[in-house]
Amino acid sequence: MQLHDVWFVLIAVLWTGYFFLEGFDFGVGILTKLLARDEPERRVLINTIGPVWDGNEVWLLTAGGATFAAFPAWYATLFSGFYLPLLAILVCLIVRVLAFEYRGKRSDPQWKRNWEHAIFWTSLLPAFLWGVAFANIVHGVKINAAGDYAGNVLDLLNPYALLGGLVTLSLFTFHGTVFVALKTLGDIRTRARTLARTLGLVTAVLALAFLIWTQTSSGDGWSLAAAVIAVVALLGALALNQLGREGWAFIFSGLTIVAAVAMLFLALFPDVMPSSLDPAWSLTVSNASSSHYTLKVMTWVAGIMTPVVLVYQSWTYWVFRKRIGVRNIPAH
């Protein structure tokens, strides 16, 4: 296993971390309209991720930075090629930061409502668009001989990619609902469990279709194994949710995300961005990667820092381990 293969795995780990963590907080954002019935309930939802959403989002920045460092050509082609979808995601993420931080800074109800709408839309859109982006990466896009994206934005909105978008959207919402059942008290917790059942079934249908499509078009034995794990984990999460084992249900919905992302990356390897025009023009782990020296330096940094980050982020979750309900929400 060469260093650029290690880095392919590390990039996959970073994206997995991002989708696992921001997955449920996108879900929570979407639930502010889907599950919450009034302002106190919306606040309960927002506060389940209050102390952690910012740290979750940094997994994306790290994935972006690490891709830049380890696979510059991948970073360059991906973000210049997926220009408009990425723009939409960035705008959402910018507004989303402010929506969380500024919503409670004025008592004016209209001000709060506006930011609540913002939380919903800026969680929903990226949850969908990341699926579109990753489906396109795996499926292959029009990459020319120079390694640049030669298609347009409409090429990115093909049926397979749109299905991918629906899968991430429903999966993240399901993951978020399971998370809410684990982190809340009272009526909203019961309703979250009921909603999780419906969402889980919808996700199962969509995910199954998407995984089969992916497997037949670009899969191998390993990706099939990951796909099976993803489906089993999703069904497990559904069953555990039904049994009221909320902690385990959350672990299994998380495992679904981990396995699904693993499947996509396994289907991708050794390409990082396959070309649909000519396989010889595909960006691969070897032709898109940085030099050996850079990868070595970055391996040391990532090898030491990633566990440290995991430790203190986990500690944060432990500090804010208590469930919250409407009665814990202060007046201001």
């Binding site: 790290t62 910018i94 500024y102």
Partner: protein
């Protein structure tokens, strides 16, 4: 050719707008994080209510500011790929490393510990909670370090070789992280950040003190918190104003060596002069390559560049000839936009040093005891008198203006910071990476002009809207002043009591 130029222009405007905007919040976040941490340390150590009030007050302003800094920072991580993909491919091997390190070491620190700090007032033991804000502060400084190392590499590439594939390849990470340019730029940027935070504190504390005085505020902790803040802000502004000047001078000398064109442009010095004067004011005619009007101090530029008053400083026309000899026709001209460089340089220094001067005057005028008749001394919880000499107060007119200037001063470093970056980045043109890659060659080849117009328009409108929202929020909170919040009644423990499940959260979104 025209279309290629349009691509470059759009990409540059977008980078300029989003980055200058982002940097309005960065220095304030860095310095306010440290100042808030300092104030909270004072509270934990002394238990004095005024420090608690001050921590809470500045902490809130920090958070409003930090949110926009974080939000606008997200774009920065991706727009190299979006608009500068040719650049990203060429330098990713080197430039990507500090960016990834910044995310891994700094962003995680900041984002995780700020969450703990915001929500942790009643969950974490006092000292651990204090540790969290220090972690945030350290995170902001680390973040600055890594991104400045990356930028310094663009200004002065070191520790690399050009590989067989024609791309820059890292050979020595130590050189990239610790080269002289990086160290000096970090020194200059961080001192300027504290100058910014100090002036911000001076402005708002001055406003609050005047307001409290007028409304006959009786809460001594509130008044005390603002009086302490005013003095702290003044001291910080003076110390770091001086630091900014010293580091700026050092950086200038480094730049005279590494980028003579930038510094010649900063002076609108067309022809090599020995000794070279420093222009207070000049107006150049670019076509003729000379200044039509000029007011200057003889020999000062020589001193700024070389530490003595008589050495030669190369002029624009000569550097242009040298660069053309060295780089051939890589770029049509090696001359940056001279008026932008010239005036950017002066506005940077002018506005930054004005804040320093105001703070130096303020530090003297509001002194507590030194050379002050006892009857003019004011207690910790009173509005300080502005005392010129032992017995002489500023007259009513000057008094009014002194307080006004104290409030206005908070805006000056923001202007200085922006022009500093505009100067240093436009002054490097036509290079994206000095001597290695021109900005024209750095642009994404396949991004359409329509896509660029879309993103530029959206970012500009969005940022303008957010500026309105942010400023209004800042003004509201700054005007409201310290609140009546009380510290947690007992020091929380990590294991936490389980019996108070019905208790409302101390803080919730």
């Amino acid at each position: 050719v025209e279309l290629a130029l349009a691509h470059e222009t759009m990409a540059r405007w977008q980078f300029g707008i989003t980055t200058v905007y982002h940097f309005l919040f960065v220095p304030l976040t860095i310095s306010l994080a440290f100042l808030t941490a300092g104030l909270q340390t004072a509270w934990v150590r002394t238990g004095a209510a005024k420090y608690f009030k001050a921590t809470k007050f500045w902490g809130k302003l920090l958070l409003i500011n930090l949110a926009l800094g974080v939000a606008t920072g997200i774009v920065q991580e991706f727009q190299f790929g979006m608009n500068w993909s040719a650049y990203s491919k060429f330098v990713g091997d080197i430039f990507g490393a500090p960016l990834a390190m910044e995310a891994l070491l700094a962003f995680f620190f900041e984002s995780t510990f700020i969450g703990l700090w915001i929500f942790g007032w009643e969950r974490l033991p006092k000292k651990i909670h204090l540790g969290c804000i220090w972690m945030v502060a350290i995170g902001t400084a680390l973040s600055a370090y890594f991104i400045l190392a990356a930028n310094s590499w663009m200004q002065h590439p070191v520790g690399y070789t050009i590989g067989a594939n024609g791309r820059a390849q890292l050979t020595d990470i130590g050189k990239v992280l610790f080269q002289e340019t990086t160290l000096v730029v970090v020194f200059h940027t961080l001192t300027a950040a504290f100058l910014t935070g100090g002036a911000f504190m001076v402005g708002i504390a001055a406003y609050q003190l005047r307001r409290q005085h007028r409304s006959k505020e009786t809460d001594t902790a509130k008044i005390g918190s603002m009086r302490t803040s005013l003095r702290l802000g003044l001291v910080i502004t003076v110390i770091f104003g001086l630091g900014t000047a010293v580091s700026g001078d050092t950086l200038g000398k480094v730049m005279f060596r590494q980028q003579p064109m930038k510094m010649a442009a900063a002076e609108a010095l067309w022809d090599t002069q020995k000794p070279a004067p420093f222009s207070i004011f000049a107006y150049g005619n670019v076509n003729q390559g000379r200044n039509t009007i000029e007011l200057s101090i003889p020999g000062l530029l020589s001193f700024l560049a070389t530490s003595n008053f008589h050495d030669a400083v190369p002029g624009i026309n000569d550097v242009q000839a040298q660069e053309r000899a060295k780089y051939g026709d890589k770029a049509p001209s090696y001359e940056p936009n001279i008026p932008t460089a010239f005036w950017g340089f002066r506005w940077m220094i002018g506005f930054g040093m004005t804040s320093f001067a105001i703070a130096a005057a303020g530090l003297w005028l509001t002194r507590k005891r030194f050379w002050l008749a006892p009857e003019h001394r004011r207690g910790e919880t009173e509005l300080p008198l502005l005392m010129l000499t032992r017995n002489r107060e500023l007259g009513p007119f000057l008094n009014k203006w002194a307080w006004r200037l104290a409030i206005l001063t908070m805006g000056f470093p923001l202007i200085a910071n922006s022009w500093g970056w505009i100067f240093t980045e436009t002054g490097r043109q036509p290079w994206a990476v000095y001597g290695l890659m021109t900005t024209a060659d750095a642009v994404s080849p396949t991004v359409s002009i329509g896509e660029q117009i879309t993103s530029l328009t959206i970012f500009t409108l969005l940022y303008a809207l957010l500026a309105v929202i942010e400023i209004r929020l800042m003004v509201t909170y700054a005007k409201a002043g310290p609140t009546d919040e009380e510290p947690p009644s007992k020091d929380p423990t990590l294991r936490g009591p389980s019996g108070d499940a019905d208790q409302p959260l101390a803080f919730a979104y």
